[in-house]
């Protein structure tokens, strides 16, 4: 069987994003799903420009997220700012490389790879790429799945700030880097949501339909 065998949009049908009902579409927008009442579209509206806008904002925020301290630790009168990378280095120095790896992957690598993956998906869709539809869809799926785990560093900062409040002895305050970092995570999550993976499949080699 060729793949995709029959695409819903080619038959004037669209699947509801919320409840999955297949409904007959009309040209133009503004159709509400008869089962769940959510708006149904052939493709997410303005998917590409919306995703680009969110993605570029996320990329800009990534710079302060990495450069500014995510928290400021005061310990016996000494104040010290910690960036995300210095947190990784701290664990490495203490021989705690599994944790250094978790933080590095979740906070540095995942947001970066996610942004690179989305750029690649956007560019490949805009250039009507016929390259490996299935693998690109899988790339999208992974991107969507792992994005939320980057929030871990924000939660760590929140917990440390909440716990280490012992006045002059020791205290931790959140840094602006944490705010920028949370913005990166949320922007990339929303960017991934606004990308429509069905666009990857909208350009097919005609030969495919003659297979078998």
């Amino acid at each position: 069987m060729s793949c995709p065998a029959q695409r819903a949009a080619d038959l004037g049908l669209m699947g509801c994003h919320i409840c999955g009902l297949v409904v007959r579409g009309r040209s133009g927008h503004g159709l509400l799903c008869p089962r769940c009442g959510a708006a149904v579209h052939f493709r997410k509206p303005n998917s590409l420009s919306r995703t680009w806008a969110l993605l570029i904002t996320a990329m800009l925020m990534y710079i302060p997220a990495m450069a500014l301290p995510v928290m400021e630790t005061s310990y016996f009168g000494n104040t010290q700012g910690d960036t995300i990378m210095s947190g990784v280095v701290y664990f490495l120095k203490h021989g705690d490389w599994p944790l250094a790896l978790v933080i590095f992957v979740a906070s540095v690598l995942v947001p970066l790879l996610k942004m690179i993956a989305l750029v690649y998906l956007l560019v490949s869709v805009q250039r009507h790429s016929l390259f490996r539809h299935r693998e690109r869809t899988r790339l999208y799926r992974i991107t969507e799945l792992i994005g939320r785990w980057s929030m871990v560093d924000v939660f760590v900062v929140a917990l440390l700030v909440a716990l280490v409040q012992l006045g002059a002895l020791a205290s931790i305050a959140p840094g602006l880097g944490a705010m920028a970092f949370a913005a990166v995570v949320i922007l990339t999550i929303v960017a991934a949501m606004s990308f429509d993976p069905r666009l990857i499949w909208d350009h097919q080699e005609r030969i495919h339909s003659h297979e078998q």
Partner: protein
């Protein structure tokens, strides 16, 4: 129980396909891109209802008792689940506090309560208002409930503090760990697509 045959348009590649009766306990995948279309979890509505109710109780306990207590040279300071967000708010980072509170407290709470509402309406054939709206609402909320990610945050924070202070695990944390498991179990027993099938098209 096998599910009815349904027409599905894959949400990732738009392939139109008919999924014939799916045996319970299995997952239907797109025959083109292998995206997960929907699952047919074992058992009826009783199990997910019981699990979701357990989640609610565990969630309340997790919120009511301290999560962690810090102890440095006799000075102690404790925090609850909401305390993490509150500390950020007090440090003049209201937007960050809102993000943390929504993903760790409000989001999960709304998902649990809403799911309980929809499941009870279906299970006991109650004519409750706004069931459809609530089910739509759950789908939209799903990405913003980050219970499991928060748990990883607790673990990392514990290791970070281990060097400088004693940390005592509170009752809230035990309830929280249990909540993670019950929440995962409940989620795997709930398939929104099948709940929609039960609700049917408005007539």
């Amino acid at each position: 129980m096998t599910s009815h045959a349904v027409l599905v348009a894959c949400h990732e590649c738009d392939t139109l396909q008919r999924v014939e009766g799916l045996p319970s306990g299995s997952v239907a995948r797109c025959r083109c891109c292998e995206a997960r279309l929907f699952a047919n979890p074992k058992g009826g509505l009783d199990t997910p209802l019981a699990l979701t109710l357990s989640c609610l109780i565990l969630f309340l306990v997790a919120n009511a008792y301290p999560l962690l207590t810090l102890n440095i040279k006799g000075l102690t300071h404790e925090t609850t689940l909401s305390g993490a967000a509150l500390a950020l708010y007090r440090a003049d980072m209201a937007p960050l506090a809102a993000v943390v509170w929504i993903t760790s407290v409000l989001g999960p709470a709304l998902i649990i309560v809403s799911m309980l509402y929809v499941l009870s309406a279906l299970r006991f054939a109650l004519r409750l208002p706004f069931v459809r709206q609530v089910l739509v609402w759950i789908s939209r909320l799903q990405p913003w409930g980050m219970l499991d990610v928060f748990m990883l945050g607790v673990l990392v924070a514990l290791v970070k503090l281990a060097g400088m202070a004693d940390v005592v695990l509170g009752a809230g944390l035990y309830a929280y760990v249990a909540l993670i498991f019950f929440f995962a179990a409940a989620s795997s027993r709930i398939e929104p697509h099948l709940l929609w099938e039960r609700l049917g098209v408005r007539g």
